[in-house]
């Protein structure tokens, strides 16, 4: 393994395209995001401390709840999605496919689950690399008739597991959850005039408002940061998938199929739409940027474009 990595490292210095190299951006962004979150948290704490708020209990409870949520994440997810762990006998081809990818990339084999629904989708969950589950829907297997496309999607999910994305996002959401609890708590505290014994007796209403405002701000900002992290990790998982399979274009195609964006590439003849001159005035940028801020997944067009860049740098 060490030698293999050494070779890869060496070749990356000379001519390997950037996306094939180690994803330093991910690490840097993660550290940065956590630093910002920690800073937010610190500011939040000091404001609370300043106004004499007894927050520790709630913080601990909220964190414990989030951790419990993480600990049981696989079970919760499997239960709520209706995914069933399947054996090799039930889905031999799926097992073969996953085994091929993990053995090629030196990863432990995850459990494989299937969800019986027409909706094409896939997800990964689990606390760590060893207890991970990759789930695919029957709709996905039907839609992606080309096995290499399915392989791209599974490799994408395997990258989520390899990058420990469940843990990362859980940790990141602790702050948001704590802020959320405090927000509600502060709200109730404010309603009852701090009668529950928290805060100082003098100017209680004022401090409560501050708590609420700060909590709301913390919650909004951490909410946005979590989404930014999630989006970036989607790009990373796409890149990881491209590395594992060596076929970015297959994943790009799969993504377009899944999102129903196949209709994006039109089938209507150019001569039929030519008269609609106005159509050509519409700028290439579609969709709203504000919507992008809130979504956990980057728009498919962006992901496809990045995958195409990888494809281009490969051939």
């Amino acid at each position: 393994m060490v030698t293999v990595q050494l070779v890869l490292q060496l070749s990356s210095v000379s001519r390997t395209p950037s996306w094939q190299r180690r994803d330093n951006g991910l690490t840097i962004r993660m550290i940065l995001s956590f630093a910002i979150l920690a800073l937010l948290y610190a500011v939040f704490l000091s404001v609370l401390a300043y106004i004499g708020f007894d927050f520790i209990a709630i913080t601990i409870i909220a964190s414990l709840m989030v951790l419990a949520q993480w600990y049981f994440s696989d079970k919760i997810v499997l239960w709520s999605s209706g995914a069933k762990i399947v054996t090799r006998d039930q889905f031999p081809k799926l097992h073969d496919m996953v085994e091929r990818i993990v053995s090629r990339n030196n990863l432990p084999k995850p459990k494989i689950a299937v969800i019986n629904t027409k909706m094409p989708n896939a997800f990964a969950t689990g606390k760590g690399r060893k207890s991970a589950v990759v789930a695919v829907t029957t709709g996905l297997m039907e839609l992606l008739s080309d096995p290499e496309e399915l392989e791209g999607v599974i490799a994408h999910e395997l990258t989520h597991i390899r990058n420990r994305d469940v843990l990362v996002l859980t940790l990141a959401s602790i702050f948001a959850t704590v802020a959320w609890y405090l927000m509600q708590f502060g709200f109730y505290g404010g309603l009852y005039g701090g009668g529950m014994g928290y805060g100082r007796d003098r100017n209680n209403g004022g401090t409560m408002i501050i708590v609420i405002v700060v909590a709301v701000l913390v919650w909004i900002i951490s909410f946005l940061i979590i989404r930014a992290i999630a989006r970036y990790r989607e790009f990373s998982a796409d890149r990881g998938s491209a590395q594992m399979t060596g076929k970015p274009v297959k994943l790009a195609n799969a993504l377009m199929k899944i999102s129903g964006n196949m209709r994006q590439v039109p089938t209507k003849d150019l001569r039929q739409v030519e008269g609609l001159n106005a159509f050509f005035i519409i700028p290439a940028i579609s969709g709203s940027t504000i919507g992008n801020l809130f979504s956990t997944h980057p728009p498919v067009e962006k992901r496809v474009e990045k995958l195409m860049e990888m494809e281009a740098s490969m051939s």
Binding site: V249, K250, A252, N253, M256, M262, Q264, V265, P266, T267, K268, D269, L270, R271, Q272, V273, E274, N277, F279, F280, I281, A284, S286, E301, V304, E305, M308, E309, E311, A312, S315
Partner: protein, 191 residues
């Protein structure tokens, strides 16, 4: 109002951008070496046919020019009017450079006569190792190229994967249409 109209009604029908077209003169080599698609030696230009003396005159000019250039460029040509009423000028030649020069000269003539609005697209044909046809379409209104790979089933469906591969190969070399919703196909090409 006329004052504003002058600014608002911008002419989006840009002129034949020969720079954009000629970027294909090296890009076709990249296509061949990277994904093994060969230039089939055929390309075409299509424009909206209109009636009128000037347009007919222009058509005669183009034909005259192409007759002369048969020897210079080693190009042969034929014309075709399709079901949509579009006029096609189909060129055949051995070298991509000649094809590009021919297409570009025809486009220039159309432009000079003031009919650049009628220009629709230039189409370049490639064949893969199984002799299946794949195309690059140059849209005169957008001044961009985009790929078009029809599936042979006759069901008007396209091989998006091959199209994306083509796009990925030449993304750095030619102005490509980034908005895939504008990758309008041209079915039943008369090439």
């Amino acid at each position: 109002m006329r004052f504003f109209g002058k600014f608002i009604k911008k002419d989006y029908n840009a002129k034949t951008d020969s720079d954009a077209l000629f970027s294909l003169s090296s890009a076709y080599l990249t296509i061949e070496s990277k994904i093994g698609l060969k230039n089939s030696g055929r390309c075409a230009l299509s424009m909206k046919n209109i009636s009128g003396m000037y347009f007919n005159e222009m058509k005669e000019d183009i034909k005259r020019f192409l007759d002369i250039s048969k020897t210079d460029f080693e190009l042969s040509y034929r014309t075709h009017t399709d079901l949509y009423g579009y006029l096609w000028i189909i060129l055949e030649g051995k070298r991509m450079e000649d094809l590009l020069a021919g297409i570009s000269a025809v486009g220039d003539t159309v432009d000079e006569k003031g009919f650049s609005n009628q220009l629709l697209a230039a189409i370049f044909e490639f064949t893969n190792d199984k002799n299946k046809k794949q195309y690059l379409i140059y849209n005169y209104k957008r001044n961009t190229f985009y790929p078009f790979v029809p599936l042979e089933s006759g069901q008007k469906s396209r091989n998006t994967e091959e199209e994306m591969k083509m796009m990925a190969t030449i993304v750095d070399e030619v102005p490509l249409e980034r908005d895939m919703t504008l990758w309008y196909p041209l079915w039943d090409l008369p090439l």
